[in-house]
Symmetry: C2
């Protein structure tokens, strides 16, 4: 980024965080209005009525007939980390890299971000705030044969000095295989023409929205989290070294297999799932909408069996905020291990006798909870996938193997590089920056 931009970015972000020109009630009203104006329906359909999709005769993968978009495949996973050391599971494989792009500009001298009221078929509340552009190349190259994504031209070859951040980040490593999205923020000298479904918000308004469940979607949260370090020269230093050692220490192979070879799972006409009801299922949906690139379509969705929990234990040491980071290995990570929240699991899927470390500390009645809000996972691939985001003050928590107290600023600096900080940790860091230590 241009030197002048870099020098001032942190200050301009802080300034934007202090401005809340209109309150959250107004924003919630605007979102409700967008929902009313864009009626749509999502219904589950059996696999044999999932138009355009089939179980590929060669691989048995649940794939698009033209090979586009994404596929649900099988993988065989082996690792030397954690409780389970060998298992098989379905997983979503999407080679396309999505652009998650936010346009920024100064309005009345304050940095604003152009957010979209976007319908996704898996959202519990239909429409949430998304980045300006949230589109795979299948979309923006018009594989849908629909309209091109609005504003996408600003991200295809941006002016060097206009880029505030531009980095590939991982997605949910238990659900996606090797998925990576481009998290990018481009600043324009002035606001481009506005369209329905788009709104300019300050960072202060976005922070306030994070106090309400399921308003700021996951893609918006991950992009904004990449700006947390501003242009600070904060060095990931000790945090990076700790993570590099954990990335080096563990073995992981994720081998593609036929989808009908995923031992422990079963398939009927409407769902791929586990007899014990754990983890997730794969279902098909048919969508009718008016404001997407195409009017209607069918697609598979991954549906978690129960809500997730992502929690950081937090403390201050000599005025410096720290989180208790955890080395997190998931089959879909390109680089084996990423820095995850202290606790990251689906509590209802936790087996007896294998409760994650610190889960009980987070759920304890006397826990010093500073933030506790349900946020959504991405609604374009996941159905009704919500994760309770929790921050708990716990100054006396120990540091068992695989855990490390790290400065929040160092973790934020790590999040400016690819495949270091996992998507739930990035999302929590954003909530932390908005709502901690204020109580």
């Amino acid at each position: 980024m241009a030197r002048a931009t870099a020098d001032h970015l942190s200050r301009r972000l802080a300034d934007s965080a202090e401005h809340v020109p209109r309150d959250v009630e107004w924003l919630l009203g605007w979102l409700a209005e967008r929902r009313r104006r864009n009626p749509f329906t999502v219904v589950t359909v059996p696999f044999d009525r999932l138009a355009g999709w089939h179980f590929d005769p060669e691989t048995d993968h649940l794939a698009h007939r033209e090979g586009r978009f994404f596929a649900v495949e099988g993988v065989d996973v082996r690792t030397d980390h954690g409780g389970a050391r060998h298992w098989r599971q379905p997983i979503v494989n999407q080679q396309d890299v999505a652009i998650l792009g936010i346009l920024a500009t100064r309005i009345d001298g304050v940095l604003h971000f152009l957010m979209q009221a976007k319908m996704e078929p898996g959202n519990v509340n239909v429409v949430q705030l998304s980045p300006t552009v949230q589109a795979t190349s299948s979309n923006y190259l018009r594989a849908h044969r629909g309209a091109a994504s609005r504003y996408v031209e600003h991200f295809l070859d941006p002016e060097p000095g206009s880029v505030l951040v531009d980095v590939l980040q991982s997605e949910q490593g238990s659900w996606f295989r090797g998925k990576r999205n481009r998290n990018v923020v481009v600043e324009l000298p002035g606001p481009p023409p506005a369209h329905d479904d788009f709104v300019w918000l300050t960072l202060g308004q976005l922070h306030a929205s994070l106090a309400v469940p399921n308003v700021v979607n996951m893609d918006a949260r991950t992009v904004l989290s990449c700006l947390l370090a501003g242009a600070s020269a904060a060095c990931p230093g000790a945090a990076g070294s700790w993570l590099t050692r954990h990335k080096s220490a563990h073995f992981l192979t994720t081998t593609p297999i036929r989808l009908d070879r995923v031992t422990g799972w079963r398939r009927d006409g409407e769902r791929i799932s586990r007899p014990d009801g754990r983890f997730f299922g794969i279902v098909g949906v048919r969508v009718e909408a008016t404001n997407r690139e195409v009017g209607s379509w069918c697609q598979p969705l991954l549906e978690p069996a129960s809500p997730g929990l992502a929690a950081f234990l937090v403390r201050c040491r000599e005025g410096v905020p720290q989180v208790l980071a955890r080395a997190d290995l998931r089959p879909g990570y390109r680089d084996v291990v990423e820095l995850g929240p202290t606790v990251q699991c689906a509590p209802a899927s936790v087996a007896d006798g294998s409760r994650p470390r610190f889960l009980d500390d987070v759920l304890a009645p006397g826990a010093d909870v500073r933030y506790d809000v349900v946020q959504s996972e991405e609604g374009g691939r996941f159905r009704h996938a919500v994760t309770r985001h929790v921050l708990v003050e716990a100054p006396d928590a120990p540091e068992p193997p695989g855990f490390r107290w790290l400065d929040v600023a160092a973790v934020a600096a790590l999040a400016r590089s690819s495949y270091q900080v996992d998507i739930e940790a990035r999302s929590l860091l954003l909530c932390l920056s908005a709502h901690y230590p204020a109580r």
Copy 2:
């Protein structure tokens, strides 16, 4: 890294670069002496006499019978980038992450690095300067059942303030599948006890050694290249954004297959290679040595068919040195595309009609060559693999698609993160820092 360390690292590195306490002739003499004191032999042997190794009955991979170390496997590669879009090839798969670790300390106030005279079976000249520790976990956890690697304890859980850099980096993406090594430099308050085969050198001495062919081994070069940005806050900015777009733009799948399914290759009792003689072969060797962790062993090696060429076109713009970077896609990269040198190929293996862009500019008789020295690839996996490193001043070179003139400082900053700058580009950047623009 600790703040005080970070603030001063760039200055201390520059200071070390200016000190050359003993000249290169002395160092070459010391290396020759180490070679004499550690006699060894390397002979090629047929695959059926490669003790400890076999073609695995299930996968046909050329693998260690106990599953250790590494394996030569087959892969099927599909991409939308470059000339060939679909091919099969053997590739080395090594899950173990090696520690490439250099100890540093101040001697007489000047930063010195502890380098090892290390024998590797594939080296053209047997012994080269390696990092203090160059060992896979198979080695340092004593899978060889030999002696543990000297000094390795300093890298297993270093003091946070002592780490100058600690990052995973890719290796040769056409020869290794998803390989990553830990590049780490740890500074000690004083020099630890010295051993034979180890020597303290300043950065100035290491730079001077880069003027001589095949002295500083590839592992040492890649670790030192990670220090090029010092602790500078130089932001990869535009360089990172350009690279992110190219990482996003291309499709690559690398699927494991049986080794006997690598179409276009043939195997006899002594070699896996191509009838047209291009690219590389796989051979077996037996090694007898006195100063390795174990006295003798057998292993496969990958032997390139001809020497490689890695070249950057270089220019200065308003006093700022720049290189012409190229988006480089290789089947073994974890993140699809990395920033590579302007030209990276084996000129003798280049097919008629598909000469890489700028190859003829580098080889032209009138080229303004500033550096032209043969350096070695890693001798533990590659046999007699050498790459001519070339820097050519070319201020008027254009910027075709897939190429971009970038500030050297920005590329060096990128090299502090994983999977951004490829191993040949990192090696060339180090040579550039040592020998350009001095002529």
